[in-house]
Structure formats: C-alpha cells, structure tokens
C-alpha cells in the first residue's frame, strides 16, 4: 500500500503586500490579503503554500518577509517563497521568520553557485530551483523574465545541474502551458522527473481536476496552481477526494 502523498500547492502572487492576479503579469488585479488567502487554503487542505513575490522595487522586499512572518504564526504547513532571491542573506532572512524553502529562478541561472552555497549553508531541503521552460525546436529551453528571454540552455541539462549542485527540489513551469488552463505540459514534466532524483513540482496549465491527476500520473510529485484555486474553480478538498478516488495517494 502506498501512503506517500502527492502534494497540492496553491501559489499566491504577491505584489507590494497584496495578492494579485493577472495573465503574464499584465493587468494585475488586487485579489486579497495574503494572510487571509493563506488561511483559507490551509483550511481547505493545501499541503504547502508558495508565495511568489513579484514586487518590482527592491525597496519593498521586506514586505514579503513580514507577510511570511505573520502567516508562519498561524499556518503550520511548509511555506516557500520565490521571486527576487539573489543572495544568501535573502534566504537567511526568510528562513529566520518561519519560511521553509526558497525558490530561486534567474539568480541561479546567472550565478549557479548560489545553489551550492545555499544548500551548504541551509541544507538542500530548502533550496528549490525554479525553471521556466518553453518549447524551442525539439527541445525545451530555460527562459527568464516571465518567458521573455531565451537563455538557450537545455532544460534537462539545467535541471540535472541544479540538483547536482544541491537543489532539493525542482519547480518546473511550462511557459507554453502557463495561463492556458489546457493542462500541464506532461512531456517535459515526465522527462525532468525521470532525469533527477529529487521531487519535481509541476506548474503551468492547470484548468481542472483531471489535469492535476494527469500530471501526477506523469511523474510529478506535487502540482502547483494559482488561478483555479484562487477563483474557486477547483476546491482543494474536492480535488483531493477526486484524486483519492483515482488511486492517487493524498493527505485527506
């Protein structure tokens, strides 16, 4: 009997202290107080929460620290923060207030040693490498800046490197699928999941419960989504019952 649960991770995009929603970071709408939203997801049975800080100005960086600090006082599940993490001190400040993991994206591509240093100082378990990919020819390339910059790096090669440098988890976002609600990109999720020995969180494209079931069947260890949970198109409790009915182990 298999009990080890697949994880459901709602993502909260946070800008200047508020949860925001929009497509490709354009036309952002205010969507609530992060602490209230976190509380709601926690009550519905979220297995972890991810905060993506999309605050443009570095002056407001302390806002996300303050939010995590407040959430960590009442939500007792793992918390991840991504967005704008560039140096060890950024990681330290977040972990110090009750954040469990940080997800590093462009800073890791620009200076991969950040992964080694973070893993050595804080442990691999808290260093998530976030990889945004787009299909480019017959390969998937790593993209930066929300899909605008093609680094030319093969996603599979980068995922393996990130893990060998000490990353404890990969957060894989398909920029092709993101926002479409047509389902995850199963192919690249499966390839990366088979290529690395650490858990892979699939992101981008979730539109309904079946999509999440499919991505778990293709090797993802966790599924991350924002809008379907945010707009209550999918209720986390219902989703878990649905997955359980289809023999996918979940924490109920």
């Amino acid at each position: 009997m298999d009990y080890f649960a697949k994880r459901i991770i709602p993502c909260l995009d946070v800008k200047d202290g508020r949860v925001v929603k929009g497509v490709n970071f354009v036309g952002l709408k205010d969507a609530g107080d992060p602490i209230e939203v976190a509380r709601r997801y926690n009550n519905e049975g979220a297995d972890e929460l991810t905060f993506l800080d999309i605050t443009a100005s570095s002056d407001n960086r302390d806002t996300i620290i303050d939010i995590v600090k407040k959430v960590a006082c009442e939500v007792f599940i793992p918390l991840t923060v991504g967005g704008g993490i560039r140096k060890l001190d950024d990681i330290y400040k977040l972990l110090n207030v009750g954040c469990d993991k940080v997800s590093i994206n462009s800073a890791a591509v620009k200076r991969p040693e950040l992964i080694d240093e973070g893993a050595k100082r804080f442990g691999s378990q808290c260093i998530v490498t976030a990889i945004d990919v787009k299909k480019t020819g017959n390969k998937h390339h790593v993209y930066l800046n929300g899909g605008r910059i093609d680094t030319g790096i093969d996603a599979l090669v980068w995922a393996k490197e990130a893990v060998s440098r000490g990353s404890g988890e990969i957060l894989l976002t398909s920029m092709d699928a993101d926002g479409t609600k047509d389902g995850f990109e199963l192919n690249i999720t499966q390839q990366i999941s088979q290529a690395v020995h650490v858990p892979v969180i699939a992101s981008g494209g979730a539109g309904n419960m079946r999509h999440i079931k499919e991505v778990f069947e293709h090797g993802a260890d966790a599924a991350l989504a924002a809008s379907i949970f945010h707009y209550k198109e999918v209720d986390i409790t219902q989703l878990k019952h649905y997955l359980n009915k289809h023999d996918i182990p979940v924490r109920l």
Binding site: M1, D2, Y3, F4, A5, K6, R7, N42, D47, A72, C73, E74, F76, I77, P78, L95, N96, V97, G98, C99, D100, F122, G123, S124, Q125, C126, G168, E169, H197, V198, P199, D221, A222, R251, L252
Partner: protein, 203 residues
C-alpha cells in the same frame, strides 16, 4: 517552561511559533549552562549531521543535552534532532551522535526500494504509531510532513513507537523513557502535528 535548543542549526522560528499557538512559551536557549533549568527541551534541527554534531560540541551543548536526559525530564528531538539522539550516523563520513538511544542513522537504501522513489523523502506520509502518549488524540488516518534522506535504525526494537513506509518500512518515531524523537516535523504538519506538540507539552 520549554527550551528550544538553539545551536545554530536551521530554522527555529517554526517550532517556537507552534508552541506559541499552543499557548506555551518556548525560549530559544543557546546557553548550555541554563538548559537544566527548563522543564522540557525540544532539540530541533535541519541540515547535515556532521555540522550539527560539531555545532553542539563547540558550545558544550552536547554535554548539557546529555545531562538533561539523565535528569529524567522529557525531551523531544525533531527530524535531525531525533537522529542526533542516536549513537552514530554515516551521513557524509562517520559521526558520533549523542548516544542517548541505541542505534544508528543510515541513508535510505534505494536498492532495497520496492519501486523507484525520490530522495529526499519530502512530503506528507503516514506514521503507524504504537500506543504512546505522544500520539494521543491524533486523527485515525493522520499524515505528517517529512523531509529527510537518512533514517534511524534502533538496536532495541522496544524503543520504536512509530513506523512509516517509503520504499520500505523505517522507524519514524522513538521513545526511550523520557527521551523521545520524531522524524517528521510536527511544527509543519498542520493540526495533527500541533496535537503531537501539545501532547509533549502536556506530559
């Protein structure tokens, strides 16, 4: 009063927050000389075994924790903190632990897995518990949050109070008299995790 042993290994805020939520004041204590004054201690920890042992030793905290254990007062090791209670670990070299519980810490042996699984064991899993006051009032099918690549092996099987399944069955909770340890993170395991901490506080 409860002390959370502060030996510069990892994030102690979550354990402290969880205690506050349970209306239990907990002090981050980094002074070994003061440890014996507390009613209970929690030994947390994330990171590497070797680093943790040297960090404990550097401050003389290893001896203070051993003294506390002798006093008969309750103590709880969480995750790496549980593994430190054992005699030794083979994590990146051989390291001597506190030796409060007989046994050793070994890496998940993926060759023995019944099917391929990721390492670290990261996520929510079941703990099949024996009758123990640490596990009072838990939900029948409770899940707890794990993050680890190494697990303990008890030499004295009567010390085992919880087992979990990941590739194979392994020990996920131990108790030897007043000394207890749990592999998953109760401070990150939602209501059932808080209940475990509450049970410890109420001992």
């Amino acid at each position: 009063m409860i002390a959370i042993v502060d030996y510069n290994m990892g994030n102690l805020a979550s354990v402290k927050n969880a205690c506050s939520k349970l209306s239990q004041e907990a002090v981050l204590e980094s002074d070994p000389a003061k440890l014996c004054k507390y009613d209970k201690i929690i030994l947390p920890g994330v990171g590497a075994y070797g680093d943790a042992v040297s960090s404990l030793k550097k401050r003389g905290m290893d001896e203070a924790v051993k003294e506390f254990a002798k006093s008969g007062k309750f103590m709880l090791g969480i995750c790496l903190g549980m593994q430190l209670l054992f005699e030794r670990s083979s994590e990146f070299g051989n390291h001597e632990g506190l030796g409060l519980i007989k046994g050793e810490v070994v890496k998940f042996s993926t060759q023995k897995f019944s099917k391929p699984l990721k390492i670290p064991h990261m996520g929510w899993n079941r703990v099949f518990t024996k009758e123990h006051s640490l596990f009072n009032k838990l939900d029948k099918n409770h899940y707890l949050y794990f993050v680890h690549s190494f697990h303990v092996e008890c030499f004295d099987l009567t010390d085992i109070i919880g087992e979990s399944e990941y590739g194979y069955q392994f020990t996920s909770a131990v108790a030897h008299g007043n000394i207890m340890g749990i592999q998953p993170h109760p401070e990150k395991s939602h209501l059932n995790g808080l209940q475990i901490l509450k049970n410890f506080i109420n001992m």
